[in-house]
């Protein structure tokens, strides 16, 4: 029991660390991708290839002057970024980072908690993520911030619906809400127990999901809450120093989490096709799987950035139209079609 | 069950009508649909089937009330044609009304508390919006919001009651609850008692019985007249039928526990509403208080629960609805520009539109309970029910209050026939209204002459 607990603790801390690390390097990656897409090289001074740049940024963030506007609601002003950060980190709890490790005959699951309602948990956490933005935006007592916050809340509520609906179709196929089971279902070896990745069954669902994920993370082309050309900086206009850092960090962590969720739900999670047929040692296979999982996550993070530097920003009404008039009906149709096909297949 | 299908289908159809531009034919289709609903319901007579694992039971009680609601809705649609036509969101309104009718049918046919709750909510939510459908009118907004706040507040009480009852009995099914209660495990009786009382409070809010009535006049006054008509007829019927169904079937075996409370509520309702109605200047408000008063009369049947209570209620609500709809239709036409017409705007109606004056007179006489109109028999049944159970005191009180009622009803009659009209322009009416009034009047008179038609039903 205590061994498992120790393992879980280690897992918690390592996942926490990895999350932060990946978030940090996402900033680096973002700049790099941006640069490359714009035919530049990006940061390359701090360390080799500029790899220490995130550290430098972090130090800069810490060293910046802490400004709390006089007219703001001081308590909430500080609470805002904390909530944003907290909810961002919490989502990682239910994601299965890998298969099972067997050490000394004890099976260790590379997942912090296998909730039977894993997807719902993620939804819950994501849905309260908006509080961070709203509280911060409101507490700043600045009209740009407030507008950003309002936009954020409307946007997140709207897209959560389509997101949920797209996942419902998936759940109909998998028959479970547990992420561990969903991931496991997409594995297997050649033969009778071979299962395809869910993307094969749910391409439209995935498309909707990824669009919604963009919107939920306030990423371009849905970064209306922080449109610098319109709202100066949106909800974090008044923020500086580490509080701003928290917001930015939260955004990258969200990106990381949603990439992980996407990979788990639609791209087989930690499963590598045909790896079971290679006859590897289970532990090695697990570790390989985890690595592969992070590669998938990395690809999606890259994809996030790629899109950011490709597409222009939506106008606000276009955003809402897309959410309500296209994605939701499409998602409902997807659910209906999925249901029909399932009935026909029976 | 067919009724539910048809009504919800109609609702969705009217939403689709906006898309496919069926607006022209929507009205006749809805009317036909309502008649079909009533017809199909009647065809189920005496079958007493329950549907969906005993969520709804269409016994004769439910069928009678549902069919009644469908017919009243039919009349209501006839009356409110111009309301729909003058509105930009025609189809939305149709849909809302039809959905609320679905809710009403649930409220009279439920046999599971979940269905009661959902029925109430479907009905209420549609009405919150309809009450506020005159956007630019602050009165309407206010009415809508008050209705909304009070409705949700009441829902809270109702739900708390349901929760407690569930806690004691472990089920939401009326039959099972009844079984458990009759089995008489006294272990949780205090919880059960609290639950029953809370549900009563919640439902009393909905039927606007007196300590919980204060929202009703405001809401009735502020809402557009046709919506008020809807509220004071269909909603009231559904709410009361639901109330009665719950207490008469489910908690009847512990009636000793709650009957005193109902008695107090009934007495208060009768006294307060009738007396307050006297002081009202706005006709709509007066009708609102009168509708509260009628809830009081209806509550008497619950106090004196016996085997003819159900039919007494059915008869009462039908009589009340026919008269009330007629009155509202006239009010709607008379006070077309000024929604909150005082009794003065009825001055000289007999000269401006004799038929309307006559219709209003008959309606008011029926409401006041003058024989041989239906309203009289309705009251009479209630009195007999009370008598049979030995509540002579309440009957005497009801007699006194109905006398008070005559005072305020007759004020309008006097205004119509006595006072000189401010304008001599005749009140313009549509044929639809006249047809509707004729139907209302005929049913008021026929119900009064042949009450056995309804009484023997249930």
């Amino acid at each position: 029991m205590s061994e498992v607990l120790t393992f879980k603790l280690i897992l918690v801390f390592s996942i926490f660390g990895v999350t932060l690390l990946i978030a940090m390097y996402s900033t680096y990656l973002e700049r790099k991708v941006a640069a490359f897409i714009q035919d530049r090289v990006g940061p390359d001074r701090a360390g080799p290839f500029g790899l220490l740049q995130p550290l430098a940024d972090g130090v800069k963030m810490f060293m910046k002057e802490e400004i709390i506007p006089n007219v703001s609601n001081k308590f909430l002003f500080i609470v805002g970024p904390c909530v944003a950060m907290l909810t961002a980190i919490m989502a990682g709890v239910v994601i299965p980072w890998g298969g099972t490790l067997t050490i000394n005959g004890t099976q260790y699951n590379l997942q912090i908690a296998d909730l039977n309602i894993g997807i719902l948990y993620i939804f819950g956490v994501v849905s309260i993520g908006v509080y961070g933005i709203m509280i911060g935006g409101w507490a700043s007592n600045n009209k740009f911030s407030l507008l950003g916050a309002i936009r954020a809340s409307a946007q997140m509520i709207s897209y959560e619906l389509a997101m949920g609906l797209s996942i419902i179709a998936l759940i109909m196929i998998t028959g479970t809400l547990s992420l561990q089971e969903i991931a496991a279902q997409q594995g297997g070896g050649v033969g009778s127990d071979w299962n395809m990745w869910n993307i094969v069954y749910q391409p439209i669902g995935f498309m909707i999901f990824i669009i919604c994920a963009f919107a939920e993370c306030n990423r371009m082309p849905f970064d209306l809450p922080e449109t610098e050309t319109e709202l100066v900086g949106g909800y974090h206009t008044e923020y500086s120093s580490m509080k701003l850092g928290f917001y930015l960090f939260a955004e990258y962590i969200n990106m990381f989490t949603s990439s992980a969720v996407m990979a788990t739900l639609y791209f087989g999670g930690y499963n590598i096709p045909f790896i079971n047929d290679l006859g590897l040692d289970p532990n090695v296979a697990t570790i390989l799987g985890t690595v592969f999982f992070f590669m998938k996550i990395g690809f999606f993070i890259f994809f996030f950035m790629w899109i950011r530097w490709t597409l222009p920003r939506f106008r606000y009404d276009q955003l809402m139209n897309l959410g309500w008039k296209i994605l939701i009906p499409l998602a409902i149709a997807n659910v209906a079609v999925t249901g029909l096909v399932m009935i026909l297949m029976d | 069950m067919n009724a539910v299908y048809i009504l919800s289908g109609l609702g969705i159809f009217s939403l689709l009508a906006e898309i496919f531009s069926f607006r022209k034919i929507l009205f006749p289709i809805v009317l036909l649909g309502l008649l079909a609903t009533a017809g199909l319901l009647v065809m189920d007579w005496n079958t007493g089937t329950s549907h969906f694992s005993n969520m709804l039971t269409f016994d004769n009680y439910a069928i009678a009330f549902s069919a009644g609601i469908a017919v009243i809705a039919f009349l209501w649609f006839l009356m409110s044609r111009d309301y729909f036509e003058n509105n930009t969101h025609v189809t939305d309104h149709f849909a809302l009304v039809l959905f609320s009718l679905v809710g009403a049918v649930f409220m009279v046919s439920y046999s599971n508390l979940a269905m009661l709750f959902l029925g109430i909510e479907i009905l209420s939510i549609s009405l919150y919006i309809m009450a506020g459908s005159k956007m630019t009118d602050l009165f309407s907004n206010e009415a809508s919001f008050k209705y909304f706040l009070m409705g949700s507040f009441a829902t809270g009480f109702l739900l708390f009651g349901i929760a407690l009852v569930y806690g004691v009995t472990g089920s939401f099914d009326l039959g099972k609850i009844n079984q458990v209660i009759t089995a008489g495990s006294t272990e949780f009786s205090a919880l059960l008692y609290a639950g029953v009382l809370l549900m009563m409070v919640g439902l009393a809010f909905k039927i606007s019985a007196v300590p919980f009535h204060f929202w009703a006049p405001d809401v009735y006054e502020g809402s557009p007249t046709v919506v008020t008509a809807f509220m004071s007829t269909i909603v009231k019927i559904a709410a009361f039928a639901g109330f009665f169904r719950l207490f008469a079937t489910c908690f009847a075996s512990v009636s000793g526990e709650w009957v005193n409370v109902v008695q107090v509520i009934a007495v208060l309702t009768l006294v307060v509403s009738n007396i307050t109605a006297v002081y009202q200047n706005s006709v709509k408000r007066m009708l609102a208080f009168s509708s509260i008063a009628h809830a009081g009369y209806l509550l008497i049947t619950l106090v004196a629960l016996n085997e003819i209570s159900a039919s007494a209620i059915l008869y009462y609500v039908l009589a009340y609805a026919a008269a009330s709809l007629a009155a509202f239709a006239v009010l709607h036409n008379v006070a077309f520009e000024n929604e909150n017409a005082s009794a003065e705007s009825f001055n000289g109606l007999s000269k401006r539109n004799p038929f309307h004056a006559f219709a209003m007179t008959v309606a008011l006489l029926s409401l006041a309970g003058i024989p041989p109109l239906a309203g009289f028999f309705a009251k009479y049944y209630i009195f007999t029910v009370a008598f049979e159970s030995g509540y002579v005191g309440i009957v005497l009180l009801a007699v006194v209050t109905s006398l008070i009622g005559i005072y305020y009803y007759f004020r309008i009659i006097i205004a119509m026939y006595l006072k000189a009209p401010e304008t001599t322009t005749p009140v313009a009416v549509t044929t639809m209204h006249n047809v509707m009034l004729v139907i209302c009047l005929l049913s008021t008179i026929i119900l009064g002459l042949f009450p056995d038609m309804i009484i023997k039903l249930i």
Binding site: - | S350, F383, L418
Partner: protein, 490 residues
């Protein structure tokens, strides 16, 4: 069947009237009422003057509540039906020279009223009685409301609420009785009699008061009379005629049919109270009548006085009193209709009803004066007029009951003579003034109304036997019931 026809014919007539052109309204209404009269005569011709109830029709109406369409005619009802059907054509005729606006509704209301009145008198089912009772209220209310005088709104409302209050209490009593009926509950008169008579005395008293209140208000007996003078004063003449000529009799009839035999012990207990109230009413109303300046009010108060006497006589519970009440009802109905018409004529020609501003009409209108004299004498109960028979019998019965009360009740004749003669003197005699000097004598129409009345006043005064005979057996029967119970209770 004849009874049903009697009830339904005016209703049918009223319905047809509503569809008719305004020109035909008056003749048609008259025709209907005359046909009704003919029907009554047919009925009377077939009527056997014994104690039985005849022409019985009994259909179930609201079976679940034991309500039947149960009507029939016995001697008492017969008399009152006659009164109704005789007076209605006269009343209609009396309105011919008035030009009421919307007179279609006016006449249909009168016919409707006639239907309800006949219904009240022939109903043998308690509930049916109540229905007709209330139905009679509606047309008269609207007649007063629409064609009445100043302040009619408030006055008629008062009247309506008063009477309805009484009748609702009566309804409560009836329902109570209904639940006491043995076996299958029923509102049939026999069942109610049986139920009521079996009740303990205390309950009977309660029922007595419940019912008596309704009847007392309708009549009206002393403390419940306050609605009456105003209403009479405000109503159009035809309304007043209906009110005092026929509707007032509903109350007395109610006492006879639905009170005395139903709760005999209760009656026993409270009869003296009722008598005292009635007698107080007589004196009080007579005194007020003396000081009235307005003719209409004067007659209104006199009506209270007369009806008080009838009530007093009735509650003495002896045969003379009852028979006297019967005959006096007829007489009072006829006379008072005549008086109202006379006042109407005076008013229409002089535009005033104030006694003080009249005078000297005799000079220009001798026929009118003569008619007035006869009818007035009928009212003050001069021998050989209709009033005399009734009042004599009534006072006699009250004397038998108690000398002092009888003496007081006897005042009614004296006081009646005082105020009637005084008013006659002041209006007809003396100097003619501006208003009265060109008083036109009776026209044909008016003669058609007043001559029959005069004839009837005299005829009944001279030869009341046929009328007495019609009701005698029924009254005897009733008296028998009461004496039985009196014997039983003592």
């Amino acid at each position: 069947m004849l009874t049903t026809l009697l009830i339904l014919w005016p209703l049918v007539g009223a319905a047809i009237l509503l569809a008719l052109d305004a020109r035909f309204a008056k003749p048609w209404a008259l025709t209907v009422s005359l046909i009704e009269l003919v029907l009554t005569i047919v009925t009377v011709a077939q009527f056997q003057p014994d104690a039985t109830t005849q022409f019985v029709v009994n259909y179930p109406w609201v079976a679940s509540l034991g309500i039947n369409f149960y009507v029939g005619i016995d001697g008492i009802s017969m008399l009152l039906v006659i009164l109704t059907t005789v007076l209605t054509p006269l009343i209609i005729l009396s309105s011919f020279k008035n030009s009421y606006e919307k007179h279609i509704s006016f006449y249909s209301l009168i016919l409707f009223m006639e239907m309800a009145l006949v219904g009240v008198f022939v109903a043998l089912d308690g509930f049916l009685f109540y229905i007709f009772w209330e139905m009679a209220l509606i047309p008269i209310y609207f007649i007063c409301l629409r064609w009445g005088g100043v302040n009619r709104g408030a006055v008629t409302l008062k009247f309506f609420i008063y009477t309805l209050a009484g009748s609702l209490v009566m309804l409560v009593g009836l329902i109570y009785l209904y639940y006491q009926t043995p076996g299958e509950h029923s509102f049939a008169v026999e069942a109610l009699y049986a139920a009521g008579q079996n009740l303990p005395a205390s309950t009977q008293s309660l029922i007595f008061w419940a019912m008596f209140l309704a009847f007392a208000i309708k009549m009206p007996v002393f403390p419940f009379h306050t609605w009456q003078p105003d209403t009479y004063h405000t109503s159009p003449t035809q309304g007043t005629m209906l009110l005092s000529g026929i509707m007032l009799k509903m109350g007395i009839f109610g006492v006879i049919r639905w009170l005395l035999p139903v709760v005999p012990q209760g009656v026993n207990e409270w009869a003296s109270t009722a008598i005292i109230l009635s007698v107080i009413g007589i004196v009080y109303a007579s005194c007020l009548a003396i000081v009235q300046k307005d003719l209409k009010r004067l007659i209104a108060y006199s009506s209270i006085a007369h009806v008080g006497l009838i009530a007093a006589g009735l509650f003495t519970l002896n045969k003379i009193g009852m028979q006297g009440a019967m005959i006096q009802m007829i007489s009072h109905g006829i006379v008072v209709v005549g008086l109202w018409y006379i006042i109407d004529i005076i008013f229409s020609r002089t535009t005033t009803q104030e006694i003080a501003s009249l005078g000297g009409i005799r000079n220009s209108a001798p026929i009118f004066t003569t008619v007035f004299v006869v009818i007035m004498l009928g009212s003050v109960a001069l021998p050989l007029t209709s009033g005399f028979v009734g009042e004599f019998l009534l006072i006699n019965s009250v004397f038998q009951f108690n000398n002092i009360i009888g003496a007081v009740a006897g005042l009614t004749m004296i006081l009646g003579a005082v105020y009637m003669l005084r008013s006659f003197q002041q209006t007809m005699l003396g100097e003619a003034n501006v208003r009265t000097q060109n008083f036109i004598d009776l026209g044909l129409n008016e003669k058609l109304v007043l001559y029959p009345i005069v004839v009837m006043v005299i005829l009944i005064g001279v030869y009341p036997a046929p009328l007495l005979k019609i009701s005698e057996a029924a009254v005897n029967n009733l008296h028998q019931i009461l004496t039985n119970y009196q014997a039983l209770s003592q």
